[in-house]
Symmetry: C2
Subunit: 147 residues, 2 copies
């Protein structure tokens, strides 16, 4: 694996309250940083309690406990490197969405080959009462045919 | 294939302007009806011009012409039956989203086995100047592992 892993953020479409957009941009950066640090509790804290994760190949995970059960093993078993190339952010009132592409590298902590995933995501964001934004719905899929 | 194919719509979560929600519900019904009628031009007309379709296994299709090029072959080659079980509709201003599950049956017009797909979707909706709502972004993936 010779590719350099960096967090890039390319936002080409933005619409909505500028202060909210700025907060969301920071949240998206934090989202990738937290994954790259292997910080599962930090990652789960970015979700709303009734969040829904739409992971490919399985029914939707409804609520934080199902998301936790689904994702904790990945954080436990792999070193994760996530590059998020966000392409769009739109906000209307307390509702917003982000859309873009990601590249994720999973390296087994026990040793073994790194696997690379190229995908795209569509993520619904909700403004919280404290002004922060959290992830409410997240749907994603591969940019390449399954092998 | 012995399952009865019907359009069911189960909306359990709704938030936002009630008139907009009602318009979107009708649009979602029409979305399925149009697919089931094999009406490609009707289907493409439900998209905004700069719509983005996030089809699994390929990069995002950006704009109506890419969506047309990607989807026309499916309408040409298959009889489609789509059942949409919408579970959530949320609207804030001119932005909204729908989330749910779908079952799609593809039967080759030239003859052959019907294929069944179980999936989930997250769809961004935009209110148009005439009060109608259109599909702006659509991300979906399988509810079962790829075989």
């Amino acid at each position: 694996m010779t590719e350099t892993i960096t967090l890039r953020e390319v936002i080409s479409l933005e619409e909505g309250n500028k202060a909210d957009i700025a907060v969301i941009k920071k949240m998206l950066e934090r989202f990738a940083d937290i994954i790259n640090a292997g910080d599962f509790e930090g990652w789960i804290s970015i979700w709303v309690d009734d969040g829904i994760q739409m992971f490919p190949g399985a029914p939707a995970r409804i609520g934080k406990e199902q998301i936790r059960a689904g994702m904790k093993p990945a954080f436990d078993q792999f070193s994760l490197k996530m590059i998020i190339n966000n392409e769009e952010l739109r906000v209307s009132g307390n509702l917003g969405f982000a859309r873009g592409n990601y590249t994720e590298y999973l390296t087994p902590k026990a040793g073994g080959e790194t696997e690379k995933y190229d995908g795209k995501y569509l993520t619904i964001l909700e403004k919280q009462s404290d002004g922060s934004w959290k992830v409410a719905r997240d749907c994603f899929n591969s940019n390449v045919p399954e092998t």
